[in-house]
């Protein structure tokens, strides 16, 4: 009626570039704080006359990054291989298991309590066992830790998303004489997507932590974890910091990729709606 035609226009979409541009402008305060901290850090180390093995200046870290780039980039590549490989396997396995447990209630009752328990276990402590099983030089020993770290959170989240569906929605589908497959495809999977992305963002971070820390326990030397351990034992903390910086940037990039995919896939979700000014 008349009142209905007044009001809303579809949400402004704009091109991808303008959207990213707006995003960057939105992050301006955070970027400013970041650079202020770097400059403050540099000045503080100079003024307090700190030894480089206590706290190297950002400029010294940047120099180490450039000087040892070959070693660091190779190490980063190997570590990312473990992290991303483990993440891919863990996430896929978690999602597939979630489909199975959401389909059969009895399986769910059997599996989910164990999964919730397992996700509370400090799995990283099992790294030496994985090295023993798969061989200390085998990257899969580190990948196995990442798989275990990411599998359980993904399984728990996605199975919640597939099962915690508004009962009225299910009745509506029942009233439409929808098949179980149609309910899965049209209700349960869309409902699970926000849960999936929330878990994915957590898992990207977990995967890098898992890979780097698992490397502390030994194995190939050309990985970030070993570079960190060895450089710090030689008191070359500038290299340690450089390796940590690479790990940090990798983690942030992985997280951002997950964030962007989330935005593209579920623009309708409440968490993705542009806030009103």
């Amino acid at each position: 009626m008349t009142a209905a035609t007044a009001g809303f226009t579809p949400r402004e979409r704009g091109s991808m570039l303008t959207r990213i541009g707006r995003q960057v402008r939105g992050q301006a305060p955070a970027i400013a704080v970041f650079f202020t901290v770097l400059i403050g850090w540099e000045a503080f180390v100079a003024m307090a006359n700190l030894q480089q093995f206590i706290l190297p200046r950002p400029s010294a870290i940047a120099t180490a990054l450039a000087d040892d780039w070959t070693i660091l980039s190779t190490a980063a590549g190997n570590t990312l291989y473990e992290a991303l490989g483990g993440l891919a396997i863990g996430v896929t396995a978690g999602v597939l298991t979630a489909f199975a447990v959401s389909r059969w209630a009895r399986l769910r009752d059997a599996v989910l309590p164990i999964a919730i328990g397992a996700s509370a276990v400090p799995i990283i402590a099992a790294a030496p066992i994985m090295s023993n099983w798969f061989g200390i030089l085998n990257p899969f020993a580190k990948m196995a830790i990442v798989i275990l770290l990411t599998y359980f959170p993904m399984l728990i989240s996605v199975s919640r998303g597939l099962t915690q569906v508004d009962p009225a929605t299910l009745e509506l589908m029942e009233a439409s004489a929808a098949s179980e497959w149609q309910v899965l495809r049209k209700v349960r999977i869309p409902n699970a997507l926000p849960y999936f992305f929330t878990a994915l963002k957590v898992c990207t971070t977990l995967s890098l932590i898992g890979a780097v820390v698992a490397e502390y326990f030994g194995g190939s030397t050309e990985v970030l974890g070993r570079v960190i351990v060895q450089s710090s034992s030689r008191l070359r903390f500038d290299i340690t910091w450089a390796a940590i910086a690479i790990a940090a940037i990798s983690g942030i990039v992985m997280y951002l990729v997950a964030l962007v995919v989330e935005r593209l896939v579920i623009p309708w979700h409440a968490s993705q709606r542009s806030r009103e000014p």
């Binding site: 209905a4 035609t5 929605t169 009745e171 029942e174 439409s176 149609q182 049209k186 309708w268 979700h269």
Partner: protein
Amino acid sequence: MTTTDTGTNQGAAARPVVEIAGVDKVFDASGGRTKALEGIDLRIQAGEFVSLIGPSGCGKSTLLRLIGDLTAPTTGTVAINGKPARQARLDRDYGIVFQAPVLFDWRTVQANVALPLEVKGLSRAERDERVRSMLDLVELSGFARHYPYQLSGGMQQRVSIARALALEPSILLMDEPFGALDEMTRERLNSEVQRIWQQTGTTIVFVTHSIPEAVFLSSRVVVMSPRPGRIVRVIDIDLPRPRTDDTRETPRYFELITEVREALRGRRGDGDGAGAGIASAERTMAEGAVG
């Protein structure tokens, strides 16, 4: 069970769309057995607009869900278009509107309306055409590409009506569809439901706890008692159609409202007689259980 020409879209000669015979409904909850419905007999003819009204917990929603085969009767039979209710559901004989719009956040308005059409397996072209005419019907054509969160509550409920009517069902089941809306929106949507009913010729079964709403819309008002729900009275509403805002100010409208109100109260009056002790004890025991 007579129908009047003011009350129906189609002739009274058609066979009943809904035939409920000797229906009881008992819920087995952890707190014990709750008798929600008792001895329900009801026939609804094609093209009628029937409201079920009663105090909360009287089982009127349960009765609607029995018609829609979303729950099964403990005893008795429910037939829709001469078929068991289950078969009618599988044949997609009815559309349903709940109190909440139950729209899918991830679908645009047009995709929400298209949902039952997709489930039935209609082609893209057929779907688009049906969706367009349904959005015209509820006057939301300009909002086809909006997401539900961009619409007001009243508009969302109209989308859910369009969705329920998309498959041109022979019955539309409405479970307190405007219960969550403000009075002004509710009155406007009441007029709109009347128009849609007249335009489509569909049979409507409408659950409400609002007496004015029931009287304004219905060709018959079915008044139910508190738990266990029984049909106390069926009141024919002979107000001429189309009913307008002026209808709400006619003496006959107020008379009918009073009649429904007294019928609602009447049951409690009966309760003072013999056997009331048992009846009210049952009611007290059932308090707080499913209604």
